[in-house]
Symmetry: D2
Subunit: 343 residues, 4 copies
């Protein structure tokens, strides 16, 4: 049994993480730190959460825990990471601070110098299904962005097989929890309900360089990818519709076999029958990424769905912790109980 600490415990990803960890067989929560609610009891503000005391970040005793999860804004996360590493903790960072390998790219997209550029080389990108080998010995894991997880997992088999041929267009749709818990005009119920809104479309969203970096690492020549996120009137879930041009001559059965052979042993990837499409109902409240494959002439159209707070954030973070310690990767991530009617 290890002890873990959580920074940013009252963010949506922090809360989700706590929900998962209270049922984890090998990890227990050493402390939960929150800047805004320090001194309070978690369950007082959040129905259904356990009665954990919330401490201020400054009170956190890093020597008492084996690993910390950082559910902090970018910038802040890197500062906490260095302290935790120096105290001998392993770190899983749910922010964007260690996803980009190049400090110059970070500065370009995040508008400021990287707070800990020397750490960048040490960080492992935690797309568990693909990078679990490297994670296993790693002290600093960069948990992938929610959108990139929904795009990279479905593209991986195409890239590996060298089938991708031309510009990828990703049209993504996310629920509101992706925008965080702080109230804003754009997340007001009246702004979102009955509405649907594109934002940061084309080549302007911060998750774009993250996706291109990984695709290039995998050997795809992808540099002009388009990525268009939209805000859905739902609380949770991402669905990405991905238009991937391929060389002529592919057929749907071959593609399906490729995906099946790549992912058949993955407990958190569900591959749909050819012609079936992923929906939010497949994945919400689970750690699954569901993938549908269609083909129109030479364009593969992938639909991929996941729960942005679980597989797109805290669930994948737990999966990465499981990979670090060599535990069964599903530990703490197979949920029970009645969800069908929310689908």
């Amino acid at each position: 049994m290890i002890e873990v600490g959580i920074f940013g415990a009252t963010s949506y990803t922090g809360l989700e993480l706590i929900s998962l960890l209270v049922n984890h067989p090998y990890a227990c929560i050493g402390f939960a730190a929150s800047f805004s609610k320090a001194g309070e009891i978690l369950s007082d503000s959040f129905p259904k959460m356990p009665p954990l005391p919330l401490i201020s970040p400054g009170e956190a005793d890093l020597s008492s825990v084996d690993l910390v999860f950082l559910c902090l804004p970018h910038g802040e996360a890197a500062e906490t990471a260095i302290q935790a590493l120096e105290a001998g903790c392993k770190v899983i960072d749910l922010s964007a601070d260690f996803r980009l390998k190049d400090a110059a790219v970070y500065k370009q997209w995040y508008g400021k110098d990287h707070p800990q550029p020397d750490l960048l080389a040490d960080a492992c990108y935690g797309l568990t299904e693909i990078t679990r080998e490297s994670i296993s010995g790693c002290s600093l894991v960069a948990n992938p962005g929610c959108y990139p997880t929904s795009v990279l997992l479905p593209l991986y088999p195409l890239v590996q097989e060298g089938l991708l041929h031309g510009q990828v267009i990703v049209d993504s749709k996310s629920g509101v929890s992706g925008a965080g818990r702080r109230p804003k005009e754009t997340t007001h119920f009246v702004s979102v309900n009955d509405n649907f809104s594109p934002y940061s479309i084309g080549r302007t969203h911060r998750h774009l360089p993250e996706m291109e970096q990984v695709l290039q690492d995998w050997g795809s020549g992808q540099t002009g990818m388009l990525f268009s996120p939209h805000l859905l009137p739902v609380s949770r879930g991402i669905l990405s519709t991905i238009y991937a041009p391929t060389k002529n001559g592919t057929n749907l059965d071959t593609l399906h076999n490729l995906y099946q052979s790549t992912y058949q042993n993955e407990p958190f990837i569900e591959l749909l029958a050819p012609g079936k499409h992923a929906t939010l109902a497949h994945v919400v409240h689970t750690n699954m990424c569901t993938i549908g494959i269609a083909l129109a002439d030479s364009t593969v159209i992938l639909t991929a769905a996941l729960d942005n707070l679980i597989k797109g954030a805290s669930g994948q973070a737990v999966q990465n912790m499981n990979a670090i310690y060599g535990w069964e990767e599903t530990s703490g991530l197979i949920f029970t109980g009645g969800h069908h009617a929310s689908t």
Copy 2:
């Protein structure tokens, strides 16, 4: 390990039950019968469900199971119950067929003769927290209605203490899954979204005689109760606001102590601090009934919330099975995994 059979497996309550049973430590599913989808695999039509084969009701081998759950329309349930009992199975009936003790009252509210009036005397009413003693040796359990569960659990302490004094008014609000899975004009997304509708208000809903019967059994003189259900634009959850007149002289602390002493050891009842009110966010996707207590002059205003498909149906059915067999009552009913952001 016992084997259970499910009739009506593709109703909302059937699906919910299967979700629960696949994780139950002491029960496994022997068969799942569905009239409309016999011959199909459950997961083909319902994302997130297990790949169970669905048989037709006529193919069910009652001798192969220890207990059956009936997720059937009223009338039909009673006919299946008698066969199952004769085959030596225990029966937990989620329909209304065995809730009313008096066949004449059944006829008045359901518009036809009771199909098995001789069985009525044998049925135990399965409001587990209150009736678990009688359930333990019982072969035929009538699972309570979803609305009655949300009304009777919060009223019980008042009635037991003799505090109820005058006409109770219940204003209830339910999510759409309470209306069943069969598509109707009234459950079309466009009819429900952005809308809120009263129905069967006053003394016209079939759950009224069920509630009055139980309150009278408990010794309350309640005969003119008002009950007004409303349809909420949510998938799941019931919230009942209950106006219970009491004798003068009660105060909120005394009331709270009464509730605390009654329910402090109940794992599925959450009592809120005085002045806090129950919301759907407290309970959705759990087997909890959350109760808030307020007092205005001499009227106790109770707010009670539950998930209509879990505590209001299939979760309570599993809880009743646990009571029949003397298993830990929480078996299969403590869920894990990240739900807070749906609240």
Copy 3:
């Protein structure tokens, strides 16, 4: 053609008012003042709104307009009202500042001294259908609260006929726009979606003394009324379910005739056939108040629905302006265009 000024133009009620006034045959907008968006063009921030310049409240030239609408927080509204009255403008105040006739009651419920107690005696309560006579010569109209409008209009015939006999219980449900446009935790999409929450129940909401004052003015002895508001996951609309005890011997046809004779010439009141209940779908995006009447033993159960931003606020404010000037009361309030599918 008169000129009107609007203070608080970018509140929900201000925006709604502008939507109505741009199509009013006898009134045009002289200025629209906004503290937070002064200097901007209205349509830049709000899709579908006209390109009105927004001025700061201090720049408003009161001498240039005939009437001002105050869509301001309480306290602030009274301060602007006195200036406008001194400048010779008529005032329609959508805040709570002039609804309560007694400054002591105001202090008790709003927690501070009334800013202009001397004006209280001059204010007319603008429940147009009932008080239009007094409004016609009035310079300061207190526009009723949204909840009180949904309660007082349906109760009026009972009170007038002397049928009310005992404690009235009002269980109200409102959409989120009632909570205002400023983002808060409680109005975040994720907090509201799939949820339903009681708040300020019993005898604690500020609209309670307003309703009791009016009922007492009408000669009802009502002093212990209960009022329980709840937050609905919809953008607009209020539905109040009202339990009104009467003397024995009433019957539904008599009641229906009473309502019909009271309201038959009212263009903004729709009386449903006996046994039909009001829903949000009847009223959203209109200036209607729809009323359903049911009877259970001696309790009349009224369901009343209205759009909180129109009949519950800005629509009723325009109706009051029409009454002040003796214009056809429906001027600017009969809308066209396709709404059925939002019902």
Copy 4:
């Protein structure tokens, strides 16, 4: 003043049309026919609708009206069209029966022979902004599909200017009213709420050949277009995100000027400033099509929003009627009244 008849009056598009026509200055409703509700009064089933008597289609006196609107299923519409034309009526058909010019293509996509192939040559495609000249003398107008309207209006300026260069990808999202009023599993509230689902993606949806036919008529070489519709959890509205490759060298200002010069006098097209994106909030409950333009390298990314029941169906049908008779094109289509908070 002309008299019009409506077939399919209780479909969503029929209801919307009636809402519009009751306020039209030059047209009044001669009859409203409904197969399913013949003999009833419209307002009895549909709150907010006028109390029109509904006749059975067979009772319709075609000689009594000048024009008929067909809100009927495809196949059925063509049969009624021929009768109406023979009786001397003009016809505006909201079904798909006269959109495709080639009976062989119709058969391929609709699975049966075209019922009236001889009429195909007479039909005008009613994309009003583009084809109003031809509509003006036409007796049979094929009202465009909802999706095609949201795609063709934004693409038109690019095609006219010869800028389109390569495969267009359209990722569309529609509200549930697009699926019709008949209850189905897929339109059940519980299936749609909290969900988001792709369907008929790639080259499989019936609106694809309609779009390609028009683009080819306009001289674009488009033959391999991809079109992916998705079902949104909203009642109304379509948003199409369109990826249109162009020749190198375009810039955003030039594009914006092109769109402005094309559409500046169109009352129902709103062109957003460069970098702003269309949302459902811009258009719901109006006859507007709102268009946003972005540019990423050489790909133009258009966002276009409209209300599927108004600009995508019944509003455009009225606009076409106005064009036929040479009336002000906005007649009956400029709505008043408070809609901002549904945005």
